[in-house]
């Protein structure tokens, strides 16, 4: 207790030096917290931009569906899977897929029809927010269709345009219906832009004569669970169906994300090193400056051990003060960026690939770990940086220490 009081008094004997050190340490701590939060925010946001548009965290298909994309390979027992997922608080959306022809006047294009349940889709992802114009499907079968951007251009279609859909239905007949364009999607990846027409699941069922059957169940816990945890929960009720996480579905995007996460981690380590070295430098200089003082203490009979103890106590007090100050600054700034993301749209509109929309908004993500780690590192650095010169002084001959410059 006595040691701490002496440390406290010692620190304020030279309040300017202490002030400078505290500012340097707390700013470094704050910068580390902010950087960590921003980097984490970027990594999490990249994963969410994959999972939260159309892909979802996990998808369930009939075990043969992805090989041949046959209209007949539908998910077995889809009601069961939907029920299990929703009981666990996981959003689940059933989707039916089929190929066919959309035609408007003398323009026509081969398309992939997506029969969706608009209400479930809105829980899965933000597709409905990615509209260039018009509105999303209403949720009632209404012969409305939402088109990919390039598909709309191919068909010369705009909101309200009448389109004829012609498909080979599941019973071999020539399924045909009239649709009206309700909305046109923003660019959300090449496949979606070029060839996808989204319709209500009941309109799909009558067009393809395929009632109550789905080719895909997309699942998304919206950040509550990891993709692997979602897959594990669903697997028990999936039967013979195939359950795959988005990383298995989009290995290319997964690799890209892993690479950029790796790069982000390297940047983070460099930042920590730079901040740590800055603090090390400040503390080293501050302690070196006091070597004559330690010589004096030794000359009047203070033990080396006592000097070491006092110096580390001072460093600890410095560390505590700076981490409180730095922690407060870092938390406030990180929270600010969490709620008011940095707008990068001046540098570009965002980035799209394979149904993945990387947003132009860069938000931070503050976690408890993101506050504790920078603080622990700062403490370690400050104690180490103070101990080295103090140990040196403690071992020096008092006379030489007194004249040390």
């Amino acid at each position: 207790m006595n040691t701490m009081r002496i440390a406290w008094r010692n620190l304020w004997r030279n309040s300017r030096r202490t002030g400078i050190t505290i500012v340097a340490m707390s700013l470094s701590t704050a910068v580390l917290i902010i950087t960590y939060a921003l980097m984490l925010g970027m990594m999490v946001q990249m994963e969410h931009s994959v999972t939260d548009v159309t892909v979802g965290q996990v998808q369930v298909h009939h075990r043969n569906y992805l090989k041949e994309r046959s209209l007949y390979d539908t998910v077995d027992g889809w009601e069961n899977i939907l029920e299990t997922a929703r009981r666990d608080g996981i959003a689940a959306a059933p989707r039916a897929f089929g190929f066919g022809l959309l035609s408007s006047g003398n323009k026509s294009a081969g398309v992939q029809f997506w029969g969706v349940d608009p209400a479930s889709e809105q829980q899965i992802g933000d597709m409905a927010k990615n509209l260039l114009k018009g509105t999303y499907l209403s949720g009632r079968p209404s012969m409305g269709v939402v088109l990919g951007r390039k598909l709309a251009r191919t068909l010369h279609a705009d909101v309200g345009t009448e389109l004829v859909a012609v498909v080979q239905a599941s019973d071999g007949s020539l399924g045909n219906e009239l649709f009206h364009v309700r909305g046109i999607l923003k660019s959300v990846g090449e496949n979606l832009d070029r060839s996808v027409a989204i319709i209500d699941r009941e309109d799909f069922a009558s067009l393809f004569v395929l009632p109550d059957q789905y080719h895909e169940i997309a699942l998304n816990s919206r950040g509550q669970l990891s993709p692997d945890e979602v897959a594990a929960k669903i697997r028990s009720s999936a039967g013979s169906n195939e359950v795959r996480t988005w990383r298995q579905i989009l290995p290319g995007v997964s690799d890209m994300l892993n690479t950029s996460s790796g790069a982000t981690m390297i940047f983070l380590v460099i930042f920590f090193l730079a901040a740590g070295l800055g603090v090390l430098n400040t503390l080293l200089m501050a302690t070196y400056e006091r070597i004559p003082e330690f010589g004096l203490l030794k000359a009047i009979g203070t033990s080396s051990w006592r000097i070491l103890r006092d110096v580390s106590a001072e460093a600890l007090v410095l560390g505590i003060l700076s981490s409180i100050l730095g922690g407060i600054i870092g938390t406030i700034v990180s929270l600010y960026f969490q709620y008011f993301p940095i707008d990068l749209s001046a540098f570009g509109e965002g980035f799209n690939t394979s149904g993945v929309v990387i947003s132009a908004q860069w938000g931070a993500l503050l976690t408890l770990r993101g506050i504790i780690w920078p603080i622990v590192i700062m403490w370690l650095v400050s104690v180490l940086a103070a101990l080295y010169p103090a140990a040196k002084a403690a071992r020096l001959d008092p006379v030489r220490a007194l004249t040390h410059v």
């Binding site: 022809l101 026509s108 012609v166 080979q168 019973d171 071999g172 045909n176 219906e177 009239l178």
Partner: protein, 258 residues
Amino acid sequence: MRQVCGIAFFLMAIATFVPTSVLPGSEPVSSADILNHVDDLFRGSSSHATMVMKVITAHYTREMKLVAWSKGKDYSLVRILEPLKEKGTSTLKAGNNIWNYLPKVKRVIKIPSSMMGGSWMGSHFTNDDLVKESRMADDYTHSITFEGTREGTEVIELTLIPKPEAAVVWGKVVATVRKSDWIPIKIDYYGEKLGLERSMTFSDIKTLGGRLAPATMQISPADKPGEYTLVTYDDIEFDIALKDSLFTLRTLQNPEAL
């Protein structure tokens, strides 16, 4: 799956006026004469036919009653009479183009070239099968590779290899006809790697439109065992008077107009 000699003529009764000069029984037997006879079985300057098409697949079975008209080799029109749900659905072929009329939405759709390989009305025929046609004797080098008795019938087997410049997709075609009257029994189509891709078998030989011809044809894709499409002629007339206006988009859109 395009360029199926024999399929188009059977389904659409492609009408081309070709005088059948050489008849079965004449000597010596030439493979070209046999092939011309097979090609011309269902040809006339025009035709009108009703038929039943039965499609068996792993996923569905369907049966349609069809009526078809043709004029020259470029024009034909097919309408579905049954089932009721699809009544009036029609296909017009003019040259290399195909249009479908869909009575449910009252619209005419031109089949884009990207969909020509797709199934025609859920059958094992593709849209291409309807428009592409060839004369076997002209597009292939051919020779008689077997003469004798098979399953109690005197047959002649011909093997056809496409000529280098011919626009056909098959690597080889093997046709078997009855020796007595050159009525086809079976035609096998092999792919470019010489694996069997599909077989046509003919049966139910009777007098149709004044000619002796098989009234039933079955087409079986080799890669889908158990699946086939069966076409049976109820009635066919050749060389009748048909107006050019029958083969227009206007008629196509008006199912009542015949």
